[in-house]
């Protein structure tokens, strides 16, 4: 569904490429997490894969077609995106916000049809935000607002869902709820690509993980392949231990400096 091959991305006037030759594909029904240190090129990769940055080299395709050939509205109807940050300037109500997810599918005069209303209601239910559909979005908690934004992305009935750090500043429950939701959506056939700093969330929910460092691929594969101690310590420049959760997923534990020094 979403794919890039040997993608090189450089910001204007930057001396070195922010992403230097990364290949990744996200298929229908699959949940792929992208992780790595701050500034390792995760968000830039996403921008490249969504056609917001012209590649210097390599290709980015969506549904097999080069991303530069998609019109904005066409693209929005196929890929739902939840960007990292979003300031609220003029607060709408929850239902109105979710309706904006239908923009790419509305009629020429922006008329809202039966089908649009139904899709909005489905998205509201799907993300469990229907009970406060009439509330203003500036009166929501962080977790609620995040779910509303996912609902907005789903209202367009996309085939792929892309989330940029969806659980930043969410508590444990909301973090888990978010990933359970995305996992469910992937199991129902959506291609899901999630940028996250939550290594242990990625470990338990992702089918595959792309670990980035300095714009390059440090490792790509199943959680068990990627989340291993030498790679992680190297990439994050910090000692870690890797254990196992009761359900068998790898569990990354950053160590205290003193413990890592081994008592010397």
């Amino acid at each position: 569904m979403l794919a890039c091959h040997d993608l090189v991305l450089r910001y204007p006037n930057a001396s070195r490429a922010a992403v230097g030759g990364v290949s990744l594909s996200v298929n229908a029904g699959e949940l792929v997490c992208v992780t790595g240190p701050n500034g390792s090129g995760k968000s830039t990769l996403l921008r490249g894969m969504l056609g917001m940055l012209q590649p210097e080299h390599g290709t980015a395709t969506i549904d097999g077609r080069d991303v530069s050939q998609w019109e904005p509205a066409e693209l929005a109807a196929v890929v739902g995106v939840v960007p990292q940050r979003e300031a609220i300037t003029f607060p709408l109500r929850v239902r109105e916000t979710v309706l904006l997810g239908r923009y790419a599918r509305l009629g020429p005069l922006g008329a809202v049809g039966q089908e649009d209303r139904a899709a909005v209601e489905r998205a509201l239910h799907r993300c469990d935000v229907n009970q406060f559909a009439e509330r203003r979005v500036d009166q929501l908690s962080g977790g609620e607002w995040q779910r509303v934004r996912v609902a907005r992305a789903l209202a367009g009935e996309p085939q792929a869902l892309v989330l940029d750090e969806p659980t930043t500043s969410l508590d444990v429950r909301h973090e888990m709820e978010m990933f359970e939701l995305v996992r469910d959506l992937a199991d129902q056939g959506l291609a899901a690509l999630v940028i996250t700093h939550g290594l242990n969330l990625a470990a338990r929910f992702a089918d595959r993980i792309l670990l980035m460092t300095d714009g390059h691929t440090a490792a790509l594969g199943t959680p068990a392949d990627v989340l291993i101690e030498p790679i992680l310590s190297q990439v994050f420049q910090w000692p870690v231990a890797v254990g196992t959760t009761p359900d068998g997923a790898p569990q990354v534990i950053p160590l205290r400096r003193s413990a890592a020094a081994g008592g010397n």
């Binding site: 917001m52 509205a73 693209l75 960007p83 300037t89 003029f90 109500r93 904006l100 923009y103 509305l106």
Partner: protein, 322 residues
């Protein structure tokens, strides 16, 4: 639905008051008579003086409110107003130039003001289009302020260097008024305003997206660059025409969109037409006050919009914060 009905009723009432009241107050019967039958003294006052004036004030007020609402969404800043983007400076400079150096033609000042506004719009646009065809809202704001200040400085220089009585005219003209309203002015403005108004009203959904920010808007399917250019040009052309018609009337474009957002909704499909009606009604009312309170002296309508609007808005702010 009830809100639309209420707004429509209040607007109709204000329009009727605007036609009925003035230096010669008319009975509702006279007004109707004047509208329907074309005879008698009342008919002349209604048809030749008040009706074009009231309709022009309504259109200008509506246009300013719609421009303001659209620009606020475009730059994602509730402080934006239609004149912020260098327009008032450019128009003022044009008007002062026409009065200081121009002939006596009644059309010279509006035409010069319009030209000045267009030059300012073009300059601001040129400065804000970065990296090919992208219009950056923050740069747009800065360019507007810079171009406006430059034009204002030139205007001050000209005022300082030429004689006073003429300049009082320039100054008064800039403060705005509808005393020169006539059917030809109304027709000219109406024909001109239709296109930018239609462009803005049709962009309502797009404005909802732009108000979210560039990235979300793009991901939701908006062609952000094209949309921004279109909205900026339509809003500025509409404002330039209103400046040429009746000078600089502040406050309507800033505050009416806020009032509608706060009391109703920020959704542009509702906000834009509601702001059009509210802005139109408000300016008709302000003009009514301007020409009746101190008659036979006519106050600049821009003074009235602020004197009436500020307390009203302060009240609204307090109530919605409470």
């Amino acid at each position: 639905m009830m809100r639309w009905l209420g707004l429509a009723l209040v607007t109709a009432l204000v329009l009727l008051l605007g036609v009925a009241l003035g230096s010669v107050p008319l009975q509702p019967g006279d007004v109707l008579d004047g509208l329907v039958r074309n005879s008698g003294e009342a008919a002349v006052i209604v048809r030749e003086l008040r009706l074009p004036r009231v309709l022009l004030a309504f259109l200008v007020g509506g246009g300013l409110a719609v421009s303001g609402a659209a620009l606020q969404a475009l730059v994602r800043n509730p402080l934006a107003d239609p004149y912020l983007l260098g327009l008032s400076g450019g128009a003022g400079l044009g008007a002062v130039l026409a009065i200081a150096f121009g002939g006596g033609s009644p059309w010279a000042v509006p035409i010069a003001a319009f030209a000045g506004a267009l030059v300012a719009v073009a300059l601001v646009y040129r400065l804000s289009v970065v990296a090919g065809r992208r219009l950056d809202p923050l740069v747009l704001l800065l360019a507007g302020v810079v171009v406006g200040s430059f034009a204002a400085a030139l205007m001050s220089a000209i005022i300082a260097l030429s004689d006073a009585p003429r300049l009082r005219n320039a100054f008064l003209w800039l403060l705005g008024g509808f005393s020169s309203a006539s059917w030809p002015t109304l027709a000219l403005f109406a024909v001109y305003a239709v296109i930018p108004l239609a462009v803005l009203l049709l962009a309502a959904r797009g404005l909802d997206l732009l108000a979210l920010g560039e990235e979300p808007a793009r991901h939701l399917g908006a062609d952000v660059d094209r949309l921004r250019r279109r909205i900026y040009l339509a809003a500025s052309l509409l404002t330039a025409a209103s400046v040429a018609t009746c000078g600089i009337i502040g406050f309507v474009g800033l505050v009416i969109p806020h009032a509608v957002r706060r009391t109703w909704t920020p959704m542009h499909r509702v906000l834009l037409p509601a702001a059009f009606m509210a802005g139109g009604g408000f300016l008709v009312l302000a003009d009514l006050i301007a020409r009746t309170v101190l008659r036979p002296i006519e106050m600049p309508v821009g003074v009235v919009t602020a004197l009436v609007g500020v307390p009203l808005f302060a009240l609204l702010l307090r109530r919605s914060l409470a």
